[in-house]
Amino acid sequence: MIRVEDVGAVRTIRLDRSEKRNALTPRMLDEFVAAIKTSTHARVIVIEPVGPVFCAGFDLSECRDDAGALPSLLTGLAWATATMRASPAIVIAAAPGAAIAGGCAILCGCDLVISTPDSKFGYPVVKLGISPAVSAPLLSLAVGDGAARARMLSTDLIDGQAAHHLGLVHELCDTPEACAARAHELAATLIDKPSTGLAATKSWLNEVDGSLAGNTIRLALETSLSLVGGEEQNERLAEVWSQKRDSEAAKQRDREEKK
C-alpha cells in the first residue's frame, strides 16, 4: 500500500490504494513512517498518490470489527507527521483530488504542498464523534490559529483555491499529472542546493516555529484518543455502519431484482 522509489537523492513515497482513494489503514501508516525513517540518503521526499486522489483519510471500515484500529490510526498519524517534520529531508506533497482529515493532516507535516484548484480539503470528522485534534498543532502552523479553528470545528470542505489562499497549499497546478511533475521539478531544484544549508534551514524553522516543541503533538493525540470508545463516538460510528449495511443490502436487492 506504500511504494518507495529512490532516484538519486530523491525518495518518492506513493500512497498506493487507489481503489479506496488511498484511505489510510494502520498498516499503511506503519509502512509510511518506515518509508520516512529509512530515507537516510534522501535529501528530498516526494509524497504522491497512485490515482487522481491524494488521500481520503482513515479507512473507517477497518474500525468496524477492530476496537484497536482507530487508536492505531490516530497514533500512527501523529507519529507520521512528527517524523516528516523531524526528517532532515525536505518533504514535498503532490496532493491532487482530495486530502481529507488524516490526508489533510499528512499535508500539514509537509514542507511544501502542490495541489489542483478543484481539490477538496477539510476535517468532516466531528460528525462521526472523532476529534481531528491530532492534526491541530501542525495545521495551526500551516494556516494560522484562526483558520485552523475554522477548519477543525466545521465539517465543511474547502477547494484547492481556498487552501492556497490559506497557505495549506503553496502551489497550484491544473492536473494531477502536472502536480506530480511540478513536485519532482521542485525536488530537482532542491537537491541542487547545498545540503548543509538546506537541512540547517529546515531544522531552524522547526525550532523557530516550535513544530516539535514540548509535547503539543502528544497532547493533541491524547485529545483525539480520549474520545475513542466513548458513547458518542460509538453511537455515531454504529450509525455509519448501519447506513452502510442498509445501502449494501439495497444494492444487493437491486442486483437480485435485475436478475
Binding site: 500551516a142 548543509t196 544549508g197 538546506l198 529546515k202 531552524w204
Partner: protein, 249 residues
C-alpha cells in the same frame, strides 16, 4: 569627509532612514550596519517622530549581506551577522511606525530589513526574496521575522524554495503590504501613506506597536542571536564557501 553609509533625514513627524551605499547596491557591511544602528538609536530618542520610512539610495533597496570581506574569517562573519541581528531588533523596538519603501532589489538580509519593518511597500517589478539556501547559506537571522510576518507555513515554503520573487508575488505571499504598479509611483504613494500614518495619535501608535511586539515575541533577543550563530556556522562550511566564491567571481 567620507560619505555616510546611512543617512537620517528628519522632517518631524516623518523621518527617512536611507541605506547609502548605492555603488554596492546597499549591501550590508559591518561599517554600514554600525552606521545604520547609530541612526536607529538617534530615532529611538526622537519622540517628535511618529513614522520612519526605511529605503535604499540608488536603484536597489538592499542587495543583502556583504560577505566578501568576511568570507575567510568566521569571527568577522559572526560579527557581521550579530550586527544584522541586533539591527533588526533595534528597528523592531523603535517607538515609531516603520515603513520599508522597497525601491528595488531587497535580497536576503535586505529582504529581512523589509520584513522587520511594520509595513512594507514596493512596486510590481522589484525583486525580493531569500536566496540563501541557493548559496548554501542559512537565513537564520531573518527566519523569526518572516515567520512572524507571513506565518510559519508560508515562511517555510519561501525560505526552503529560495530564489527571488517580484513585488507582486511578494504581496501575494504577505511580505509586501502594498504594491504600486511602477517605481515612478512609489515615492508619491509612500509619502502619502507616511502622512496618513503620522496622523495617528503617537501614544496610541506606540502603545499598539509595543503590545504587538510583546505578543508576537518580537523582542526575543536570544532567538535572533542564536540565528546569527547558526548562520555563521553554516557560512563556514565548504559548500557555502565554494558557492559564494563562485558567485563573487
Amino acid at each position: 569627509m567620507t560619505t555616510p553609509l546611512a543617512t537620517l533625514d528628519i522632517q518631524a513627524p516623518i523621518a527617512t532612514l536611507s541605506l547609502n551605499r548605492p555603488d554596492a547596491r546597499n549591501a550590508l557591511s559591518t561599517p554600514m550596519l554600525a552606521e545604520l544602528r547609530a541612526r536607529v538609536d538617534e530615532l529611538q530618542a526622537r519622540p517628535d517622530v511618529t513614522v520612519a520610512v526605511i529605503t535604499g539610495a540608488g536603484k536597489a533597496f538592499c542587495a543583502g549581506m556583504d560577505l566578501k570581506a568576511v568570507l575567510d574569517n568566521n569571527e568577522l562573519a559572526h560579527q557581521l551577522l550579530v550586527s544584522l541581528a541586533d539591527l533588526t531588533l533595534a528597528i523592531r523596538a523603535l517607538p515609531q511606525v516603520t515603513l520599508a519603501k522597497v525601491n528595488g532589489a531587497a535580497i536576503g538580509g535586505g529582504c529581512g530589513l523589509a520584513t522587520v519593518a511594520d509595513l512594507c511597500v514596493t512596486h510590481a517589478d522589484s525583486k525580493m526574496g531569500f536566496p540563501e539556501v541557493d548559496l548554501g547559506v542559512c537565513p537564520a537571522v531573518v527566519a523569526p521575522w518572516l515567520v512572524r510576518k507571513i506565518g510559519a507555513g508560508r515562511a517555510r515554503a519561501v525560505l526552503l524554495r529560495g530564489g527571488l520573487m517580484s513585488g507582486t508575488q511578494a504581496q501575494a505571499i504577505g511580505i509586501a503590504d502594498h504594491v504600486v504598479p511602477t517605481l515612478a509611483e512609489l515615492d508619491g504613494f509612500v509619502a502619502a501613506m507616511a502622512q496618513r500614518l503620522s496622523a495617528g495619535g503617537p501614544e496610541a501608535l506606540r502603545a499598539t506597536k509595543s503590545l504587538l511586539n510583546t505578543i508576537d515575541g518580537s523582542l526575543d533577543r536570544e532567538i535572533v542571536r542564536r540565528g546569527a550563530q547558526l548562520s555563521a556556522s553554516v557560512l563556514a562550511t565548504p559548500e557555502a564557501q565554494q558557492r559564494l566564491r563562485a558567485k563573487m567571481g
